[in-house]
Subunit: 217 residues, 4 copies
Amino acid sequence: MEWRPAISAKDKNNNKYHLILEAAIKVFAGHGFYQSTISQIAREAGVADGTIYLYFKNKDDILVQFFNYKTRQVFAGFREEVDKADNSGEKLRNLVRRHLKEFQADRDMALVYQAVTRQHNRLVKKEIKEMSKLYLDLVVEIVEQGQAEGLMRKDLYLSLVKRYILGAVEEVINTWLLSGGKYDLISMADPLIDLFIRGIGIPGAFQQDEAIQVNSQ
Amino acid sequence: MEWRPAISAKDKNNNKYHLILEAAIKVFAGHGFYQSTISQIAREAGVADGTIYLYFKNKDDILVQFFNYKTRQVFAGFREEVDKADNSGEKLRNLVRRHLKEFQADRDMALVYQAVTRQHNRLVKKEIKEMSKLYLDLVVEIVEQGQAEGLMRKDLYLSLVKRYILGAVEEVINTWLLSGGKYDLISMADPLIDLFIRGIGIPGAFQQDEAIQVNSQ
Amino acid sequence: MEWRPAISAKDKNNNKYHLILEAAIKVFAGHGFYQSTISQIAREAGVADGTIYLYFKNKDDILVQFFNYKTRQVFAGFREEVDKADNSGEKLRNLVRRHLKEFQADRDMALVYQAVTRQHNRLVKKEIKEMSKLYLDLVVEIVEQGQAEGLMRKDLYLSLVKRYILGAVEEVINTWLLSGGKYDLISMADPLIDLFIRGIGIPGAFQQDEAIQVNSQ
Amino acid sequence: MEWRPAISAKDKNNNKYHLILEAAIKVFAGHGFYQSTISQIAREAGVADGTIYLYFKNKDDILVQFFNYKTRQVFAGFREEVDKADNSGEKLRNLVRRHLKEFQADRDMALVYQAVTRQHNRLVKKEIKEMSKLYLDLVVEIVEQGQAEGLMRKDLYLSLVKRYILGAVEEVINTWLLSGGKYDLISMADPLIDLFIRGIGIPGAFQQDEAIQVNSQ
DNA sequence: CATGAATGAGCCTTCATTCAT
DNA sequence: AATGAATGAAGGCTCATTCAT
């Protein structure tokens, strides 16, 4: 028998659900998921320990909900942002800019997301894969459009390209997090896009440039 | 009073130290650091629980030793690999290839490294920073040589470039880990280098290519 | 950061705090502090192991609380008893009688007190000193009054006298404890006072009686 | 089957037995019996942990041996000292003086003796009783001689008198130990004897002096 | 005789979860 | 709905003791 919350917990207007979720993210951001306790979360949220179990199945479930509601919502915004632009270059720029913007705006979410994402955590493996796929598909879509527009190279290993972009963006975010969030993350977007597009080499300078053979995708 | 291992643990000929360390990495890789128990590690190593404390101060110390001995050694190899090549392009290729090779060769190490590296773990914060700096400095060195050789663009935001490269490589590794290590990771090296050098754009196709202003770090 | 009990532990109406404290004293009395386990105390108190940590910081804290609440209360009674009498002789008699009475009434407390008091236990060193000083000061006060009243010798080494009295009383208690508490301890009070006052010698029989030189503290 | 030391351990000329015993006493004095570890004792003695088990059955046995060899020897000296004197007063003085002298000379022994003596420790209950009886019998013998000599009161509660004396002496020692052994303990002997003999009262000043009725022994 | 690495039982302590109020 | 006291399973760590060398 599957567990049902005792309370219509996820109703949009239910403050306490979100109150606890936000408190949890804050605490997870500070100590890491396994180092955080239900008591800490309860104290941060200003509720009793037991109250948390009215809205969440258990501690693990808080993390799952984080992905299912909080993160999903953030990533959904990426789609909108991409749709705003026509040009593949602008789409990519919008995507990266929005990514950096959202993560800069919610540092706690960013910390938890980045940490859990690399933990190969059984609890949220599925959710992470979905989130990741959503992003990667977006990139592939953009690059394919870029190829169709004649703006992007056709000899690209797409499944590599998408990770190359996601990895670089996430690493830039990670560095910003480690720095304590002292500088403006969004300003990294344009230089980053430039690297994605042009790379670091001077065109024609590398003899082997032409030699690389890739199986597209 | 500083703790000393009860046993001259790090002597070359002492297998038990390495036996336990390897067992621990395997267990950490499977369950994550905080989900792993000393008993699991002991069982995996084929020793008694108490034996672990003859070689390690406590559970945390195992993770610290992982960075101080295991990982440090892997990263030291990167330096050698870079020094083997003259050309900046070859240096970069050697670095990335070796990186992928080492992580493919020791999947457990790779899993633990990737996970802990994003956890903002207090225990090994210092070690992670050192390891990371070692890598990033290597990249900067290569790119600067590339610029001197006239092979790489001079208008590069170096502190961004180094993370762009590290991030992309690590994400490729991460994806490989998530896939269960089913394909050949090293074969990713050349396509990846190609992306670093040339990017995904067709030279001249993007109007704004020239417009980007960067402070060359 | 200072520890606060999770529960308003010392509230008058909170039985569980006292329940556990009494259980602990009983167990300590039977096995000694270091030989007693939290599980034993919990079982004796009829609570779960974890419950103890809602009221006490840790095992050591139980011993500290024993001194801060249980013993302090007993010793506070000594002051009242002394104040009841006018005559220095009666004051001394009341003090010793009450001392023996309280320790006879709570054999477990007596056992723990006597044991810990001689252990030079770091945990409660301060508390023991305070408790001891309280008692010794009381004796000094009485003897000084006795001297003023012309009932007690003026050539007394006060700091020795106070220990002479405390030591004799405690040894009598100790013997009673070792015997298993089979006889009436309070009946020892009068003969003991007699020894304090008159000693064991026949007045004038010892030639050297007059020869002893003391620095009246 | 009873345990026998693997080695003729108690041979007078065996240094290691005494080496370990002295080391143990030193360690017990510093940390208390239960807080001391075999490793600490081994280190203090300059031998391996395992070596201790060649001379002692187990940790408990070290404490038992402490009483059986070390303490017994000290207390045996008391008998000699008493026999040296003829007069009961001198006998008492010699006894107390020697007691203080021996305990001052070996502070570690004193610490361990005082601590264990009040612990109601199962391990050495028998030994402590013996040691104690030896001392108390000596006092009784002296007092009875004093009574025969017409130097001591006949209306004495002997079994109380002996504890009264032992208790006072031990408390004086205890105070000296707590002070860190800063002053001369032996100088306490004469003032103490004076208190035993004459008490603190002025002869005849207390009306009730005569009123006390005691059952001798 | 001596060593000291290895063992594993046992203990303190934490904390997710429950449930009576 | 909310509380928070109570629970007890689980885990990190210590250390007396053993035994192969």
